[in-house]
């Protein structure tokens, strides 16, 4: 079985600072992988490398056999990678419906000319997109909020909407950047179910960056640990929990209870 | 309903809205009743060239007041309706239309600037209403049509006057500084150069600047290299004042030459001693001892507290020529009035004896003034 995503010896340097060094790992179809590490370990930088926001200094990133670097972020989305952001980045002046609709744009058969002439083909396509968006919103119980400005959604719903919006691009790989940040335990519980549900329902791979160990350990099949931009461990949740390097990285010392004991 | 459709509806309703808004102004300014003659004036009362506009307006208003005090014309009083065009492109056209269609004026006076007169001219021409520009010196203005007149000389003449003047003084090498943002300055420089080079003079440097510039050292340093006998500064007084001080600082002793755009007390205030001994052409000299001119100067001073400049005199003359023509025509009907204006001959104006030629331009002499002890002093009159 060939990997969905393959990072091979990827490094990036900002000025003198090496943010990520020699990172190699891969994600298999349908796999849910966690990426963890202390603050500033370079997790979000890895996301930005995969989605084309940054260009790697060296190394290769392949998605479904296609080399990612050199592509613009929007082209990478078209390849099939979608993401959410650490600090929610919804289109703040748009409604819930329009936020999701935006993601549908790249599937449009018709371009600018059709939106001007508004002929039958255009109207049909718009109706089809409307249906798709509503279907998706309904799955996540946001259908009734379609005309609400996204700013007025509650925090948890905004997080969810961001995930819905990413799913609307019909990705093969979904990158989630700290989706549990700022959630209370009940919401976290719901989120875990949601991620599982998405993976199964849409048949996609998920790469999850998360601080909350309970979430990561609870749902990930495999976990990679970063420290100072270097991968220090990789394995199943159980292996990671008992890895001394990881414990040292998180705690600095070998005793005491840390987040990994959760 | 969706936004775009509402926007369209709005567009439809728009006619009513504008008509309503502009309509509510009608009341007070209603058009002429039987015993007044309405004359429209377009002037730049605000904005960049407000100094000129305010002066010409003051002169025009004074003329109309005098005529009314003397009982008016054709047994009717004259009402002068003045509109401000803010020294802005486009506005002169709008207010000219307003005067023609709203106030039903029988004639238009204005503008000082050629560019804006050229906006008014087609409107007057189309409406069949005579227009007299007090001070637009660009030849193109009266070329618009047979209803358009002016009471001042034109740029080619003014350029020629200064070129003749320079040659007569034995100045064979002249450098030229042109304000490229002012068509007036561009034209003046061009006509000066044409006559000057054709008659044995050499241009030893050509530099340009823009209105609002304050530093001319770069240009003047280059000009200095050509060792000119004189420098033509064809722009307005605002920049010429500073140019003059900087020229002296750089050790340039050559006098500056200029046109009627210099005519402002501000020139001497800014330039101080440095402008002494420079020369410019103008429409009239307020030092002229002719009684009608001194009478005008006294009356103007009594009313406005300042000595009238050329714009005031031209504004006065433009109104007086119009009144004279109405008197001769015996009517305010457009064509008859036009013919009467066109027939103006040897009219004794403040700015000289004015005759209108076949091109509807004023045929009259220019005066050359110099600056001495901070005052504009008469040097000579140059006949056309």
């Amino acid at each position: 079985m060939s990997s969905v995503l393959e990072l091979n010896d990827v490094s990036i340097q900002f000025g003198g600072l090496r943010a990520v060094g020699g990172l190699t790992f891969s994600i298999q179809p349908g796999e849910l992988v966690g990426l963890i590490g202390p603050n500033g370990a370079g997790k979000t930088t890895v996301f930005n490398l995969i989605t084309g926001v940054y260009q790697p200094t060296s190394g290769s990133i392949k998605f479904g056999g296609v080399s990612v670097p050199g592509h613009k972020p929007h082209q990478i989305t078209k390849l099939g990678i979608a993401r959410t952001f650490q600090n929610i980045r919804l289109f703040s002046s748009l409604s819930v419906f329009d936020n999701v609709r935006t993601a549908k744009m790249m599937h449009l058969q018709h371009g600018i000319a059709h939106s001007l002439f508004r002929g039958p083909a255009f109207l049909d396509e718009e109706a089809m997109i409307e249906n798709e968006v509503f279907d998706l919103l309904d799955i996540f119980d946001l259908g009734k909020e379609a005309s609400t400005p996204c700013k007025s959604l509650c925090y948890g719903d905004q997080r969810r909407l961001e995930i819905v919006r990413a799913l609307a691009t019909k990705p093969k790989l979904l990158l989630l950047d700290e989706p549990a940040a700022g959630m209370n335990p009940t919401e976290k519980e719901e989120l875990m179910h949601l991620i599982q549900f998405i993976k199964d329902k849409f048949q996609i791979s998920v790469l999850l960056v998360e601080h909350d160990m309970k979430v990561v350990m609870g749902i990930c099949q495999r976990i990679a640990v970063l420290e100072y931009g270097v991968k220090i461990a990789e394995g199943t949740p159980a292996e990671i929990q008992s890895n001394p390097k990881v414990i040292a990285a998180y705690l600095g010392t070998e005793d005491g209870k840390g987040p990994l004991d959760a | 309903m969706q936004i775009r459709n509402r926007a369209f509806l709005l567009l439809g309703l728009f006619g009513v809205v504008t008509a309503g808004l502009t309509g509510c102004k009608k009341g007070g300014d209603a058009a002429a009743d039987a015993d007044t003659i309405v004359i429209g004036e377009v002037a730049a009362l605000t904005g960049g060239t407000a100094t000129f506009g305010q002066s010409s307006h003051a002169g025009t208003q004074m003329a109309i007041d005098e005529v009314n005090a003397a009982g008016g014309v054709l047994g009717k009083k004259i009402k002068l309706v003045t509109e401000d065009d803010q020294s802005k492109q486009g506005e002169a056209g709008i207010v000219a239309k307003k005067l023609v269609s709203r106030e039903k004026v029988v004639a238009l006076l204005g503008e000082v600037a050629s560019g804006r007169s050229l906006e008014m001219a087609p409107i007057a021409q189309k409406a069949g209403i005579p227009m007299i520009s007090p001070a637009s010196t660009n030849p193109k203005v009266t070329e618009t049509g047979d209803f358009i007149f002016r009471v001042c000389f034109i740029d080619p003449f003014q350029g020629t006057v200064m070129a003749k003047f320079a040659l007569a003084r034995g100045w064979k090498k002249v450098a030229v500084m042109t304000d490229v943002t002012q068509d007036y300055s561009v034209g003046l420089s061009q006509y000066f150069k044409e006559y000057f080079t054709k008659n044995g003079g050499t241009i030893v440097g050509e530099q340009s600047y823009a209105s609002g510039d304050k530093d001319f050292k770069a240009q003047l340093t280059s000009v200095k290299e050509g060792a000119p006998d004189a420098i033509l500064a064809s722009g307005y007084y605002n920049e010429v004042g500073l140019m003059s001080t900087q020229a002296k600082e750089l050790g340039i002793q050559a006098p500056l030459l200029g046109g009627d755009g210099w005519d402002s007390p501000s020139l001497v205030q800014v330039a101080g001693k440095s402008i002494e001994g420079s020369f410019f052409s103008n429409h009239f000299s307020n030092e002229d001892t002719a009684p009608r001119i001194q009478e005008f100067v006294t009356k103007y001073k009594a009313k406005h507290g300042t000595i009238p400049d050329a714009m005031a005199a031209l504004g006065y003359d433009s109104a007086m020529i119009l009144v004279d023509a109405i008197k001769r025509a015996g009517t305010t009907e457009g064509k008859a009035l036009r013919d009467a204006i066109a027939a103006t001959k040897d009219f004794e104006g403040i700015t000289g004896k004015i005759s209108l030629d076949a091109k509807r331009d004023a045929n009259k002499p220019a005066v050359v003034l110099t600056i001495k002890d901070g005052k504009f002093v008469y040097v000579e009159t140059v006949a056309p």
Partner: protein
């Protein structure tokens, strides 16, 4: 009836064109001054709606709209003055038709030249954000003015004196027909799935890219289309006043247009149309108080930003309900 409802946007456009044609035929009965003000308002509508596409919908703050207007004005005037006679000759002398054809060619040339300039500004804009972009567009505006100013005074553009004697082709039909088309194009483009991209770019460029939105393309389209309509507005302006000069297309003209957009509400086509009409009328009302005009407008700008930055008629959210299939 069903069909009319389905294609109501197009129907409205046709209606608007028809109405402007009818009014145009009867325009001799309208007071010349009122007509002039209406036409000025129409041109302002085109300018404001097209600037709104760039500043309001796409969120790229341009301070140089008057520059594009100037390019359109100059180029279209050059066509009708320099080439007009030969086009008229080809079409068998002056007639309503031949004048119309000449005008359309002139307007299109003006609009396309402006669009090219818009592209030239749009491309650098890709690298710049917010206030930097604003200053660069201001710079382009000034450069365009300086270039026209420094043309030869005997050449077609006339240097500082500008161009004179441009035929008066701009009638009610042309001005409001083009205004209607401009509103139609901007509004229907923005109100489509494709057009939501403009709004997405405005709200968050990084997120837009991650949603597969080609932000570069949207920004360039906005600039080019905005400049094209500004160019058309410039052409209409030139053929309305018959005289143009470089000073009329400077920074202050751009500010006039920006005030309309801000007052109406950035991104709100309806609001901007209202503001364009309202400010044109207000301008006439303040004519006698010209000294205070810009003071009033500048205070308006400051107060709006503090009290109501979304404009007087901000965008309202469209109600979306699932249509029973």
């Amino acid at each position: 009836m069903q069909l009319l409802l389905k294609y109501r946007t197009q129907a409205f456009l046709l209606l608007a064109l028809l109405v402007s044609f009818v009014v145009s035929q009867a325009s001799d009965n309208i007071d010349g001054y009122v007509l002039q003000i209406m036409l000025v308002a129409g041109i302002n509508i085109i300018l404001a709606v097209s600037l709104n596409l760039v500043n309001g919908h796409t969120g790229q703050f341009s301070l140089g709209h008057a520059g594009f207007m100037g390019v359109g004005a100059y180029m279209s005037a050059a066509v009708s003055v320099e080439m007009g006679p030969s086009i008229l000759g080809l079409l068998g002398g002056p007639s309503t038709l031949s004048h119309g054809v000449t005008f359309v060619i002139a307007l299109l040339v003006g609009g396309l030249c402006a669009a090219v300039c818009g592209w030239m500004v749009g491309v650098p804009s890709l690298r710049l954000r917010g206030d930097y972009l604003a200053i660069v567009t201001l710079g382009f505006n000034e450069i365009i003015r300086v270039v026209f100013q420094n043309t030869s005074s005997s050449g077609p553009f006339g240097g500082a004196l500008g161009m004179r004697g441009i035929p008066d082709y701009s009638t009610f039909f042309w001005v409001f027909g083009i205004a209607a088309i401009c509103i139609y194009v901007v509004a229907s483009m923005v109100n489509s799935t494709y057009g939501r991209g403009f709004l997405a770019v405005r709200d968050d460029e990084v997120a837009s890219e991650s949603m597969g939105v080609n932000t570069v393309r949207y920004k360039v389209v906005a600039f080019v289309l905005g400049a094209f309509f500004a160019g058309l507005a410039g052409g209409l302006y030139a053929h309305l006043f018959g005289a143009i000069d470089p000073k009329g297309f400077g920074f202050l003209k751009s500010v006039d247009i920006i005030i309309m957009v801000i007052l109406g509400g950035m991104g709100s086509t309806l609001g901007v149309v209202v503001a364009a009409i309202g400010l044109t009328a207000l301008n006439e009302q303040l004519r006698d108080a010209e000294k205070f005009r810009m003071i009033v407008f500048s205070i308006l700008l400051i107060v709006m930003m503090i009290v109501r930055p979304q404009g007087l008629l901000p965008v309202t959210f469209e109600k979306k309900r699932r249509k029973s299939a």
